[in-house]
Amino acid sequence: MDLSPATQFDLHRRMVRIRLFEEAAGRLAEANKLPGFLHLYVGEEAVASGVCGALNDDDHITSTHRGHGHLVAKGGDFRRMMAELMGKATGYCKGKGGSMHINDLSLGMLGANGIVGAGSPIAVGAAFANRYRGRGQVAVAFFGDGSTNIGAFHEAANMACALHLPIVFACENNEYGEFTPRDKTMAITDIVDRAAGYGMPGVIVDGMDVVAVHEAAVEAVERARTGGGPSLIEAKTYRFYNHHGVQNLGLKYRSDDEVAEWKQRDPIFSFEDRMIANGVADRAQFDEIWAELRAAIDDAIAFADESPYPTPDQVLVDVYTGGRH
């Protein structure tokens, strides 16, 4: 598939937006300006961008604890995201959810999720609703390699296939479940081996190559949209920062060489080199894009900084729709 220059710039832009947002969040966390946990998506940008670039605005996605990238890729608003990370009233969740529950239902982004594996059954429900309504929308469940060891994933994959739902299971295999390497927690090398057990096609793609991810996603989304049922995409990828936070925390669970090796394959820089080599773009264009998006991040940080915290009377608001009774 030859991607049009417009599509290539679109995928590139999604990735840069994620990178800049996450690096800014990391800096704020190091400056103790963000309460709570922070799971950064840096390194994995090609996966969310390649998949979301294959979706329509009204398609649904479910996400993970490492969810900022999915929301950014689906079109999330920097200001409301940054404000939420700071716990401000102007944030996506009005300061009640934070990093792990960031969402935008108007963009079909059904929430980051603090429970590993929990998003997949919810994606099954969205896929069911989409078929029920017959509007041709699809659902994508993003999940990590670790969550395929959880029962919820198995139940969701099996039910989606049994009901032949319009859904794509998009696995971000970053080789580590928190701090434990994959080979200590499962006896298979490739998550895609599990797809056959549910009766759905599966494909492995280079998760550092946004074009490869995008092409696989286009095919799987098309299959779902045209009644062909579920698919699984396994994107081999890597997180450049830790499971949570930015610094190494003194935890040596992977070697410096391994991290450096993966960073050589940076999904954004390698794609830029390719676009330049193919004569699709030049460096000056990229410089402009980075500068523009950096300004947008600075604006979002300023917005979040200036935003008020929620007032204590908000604790009991929105526990129930329409009040308690």
Binding site: A126, Y132, H325
Partner: protein
């Protein structure tokens, strides 16, 4: 002449689902064995024949995915009814119920609306042993974001189930297994009973008995027996356990000055503890005796009928609880 049609509890539930599905195309049902088979208790009988397999969906035995199906469909605009065959099995799906369904709205800053009804079957008395007989309602009532309903008779079942389906929050409707065949007056037309409103099932002046589900009926039997001894009991059936109609309970406590709280669940940490606590906080000066709790002993539900009939409270144990708060001699069963 008013409609005096009688219907069993199970068909009151079924009729509420049927009428809700007729009225609203966004309502669908999903669960194990509920389609062609009609549910193991017959609660969904005949619905797939009427509404088709796309609206009355047979699912795998996958409780997490069943609730997840409901959560995802609800948050994207449908009005799902999802069934967990036995209440004990909610434990398999607690993440989706407690961490997802109950909290999405709040965690998302209010944007999410979850018009989700979870139906299940609770209670003992069928020699079904410890994994098919539990009363776990207190566990659910402890979770902000959920509503919990547990009707005691066919009339309440239909009206409350209708409210659950129309409700824009995740609601757990518990059917008591021993009440499925209970017959009673159920109007033919659709009607709803608001959630969070208790029913004063019998008025009385001497003692208040707060009891729900099958225990509400046992409490009424106890009250009839005690009336022969000259003791007038007021029986309050909360019907909805979350939100709890504390005002009606406290008002009655202030009137009778003595309260017995009854449930089939184990006494320790049960809903009765919360009700007793609310009464002492809000009506301490009116009480002439400590609030008495009747519940199951702190053990799993036993299998043998010889043990189970001893384990589950009944009209006799409730009557003795009433005599105790009145300082009267407790009688042998």
């Amino acid at each position: 002449m008013a409609d005096q049609r009688k219907l069993p509890y199970v068909m009151a539930f079924n009729e509420a689902v049927r009428q809700a599905m007729e009225a609203d195309p966004d309502v669908f049902c999903a669960g194990e064995d509920i389609g062609a088979f009609g549910g193991v208790f017959g609660t969904y009988s005949g619905l797939q024949a009427t509404f088709g397999a796309d609206r009355v969906v047979d699912t795998p035995i996958s409780e997490q995915a069943i609730i997840g199906l409901g959560v995802g469909a609800a948050v994207t605009g449908l009005r799902p009814i999802v069934d967990i065959m036995f209440m004990d099995f909610i434990c398999v799906a607690l993440d989706q119920i407690v961490n997802q369904a109950a909290k999405l709205k709040y965690m998302f800053g209010g944007d999410a609306v979850l018009p989700l009804t979870i139906t299940t079957a609770g209670g003992g008395g069928l020699s079904a042993a410890a994994q098919h007989s539990q009363s776990l309602e207190a566990l659910l009532c402890h979770i902000p974001g959920l509503k919990v309903v547990y009707p005691s008779n066919p009339y309440d079942m239909k009206g409350l189930m209708m409210s659950c389906i129309r409700e824009d929050n995740p609601t757990v409707m518990i059917k008591h297994k021993r009440l499925l065949g209970m017959s009673g007056h159920v109007p033919t037309e659709p009607y709803s009973i608001p959630l969070g409103i208790a029913n004063v099932a019998r008025e009385g002046s001497d003692v208040t008995i707060v009891a729900y589900a099958r225990m509400a009926n046992e409490a009424l039997a106890a009250a009839a027996k005690l009336a022969d001894e000259g003791i007038e009991c007021e029986v309050i059936d909360p019907r909805t356990l979350q939100p709890l109609d504390t005002a009606t309970i406290v008002e009655s406590a202030k009137k009778t000055n003595r309260v017995v709280v009854v449930h089939e669940a184990v006494r320790f940490g049960g809903l009765g503890a919360e009700i007793a606590s609310q009464i002492q906080e809000l009506a301490f000066d009116w009480l002439d005796a400590p609030v008495h709790r009747v519940g199951a002993p702190f053990s799993p539900v036993p299998f043998s009928p010889a043990l189970e009939q001893h384990y589950i409270p009944d009209a006799t144990t409730i009557a003795n609880g009433v005599r105790q708060v009145l300082g009267r001699p407790v009688l042998a069963g």
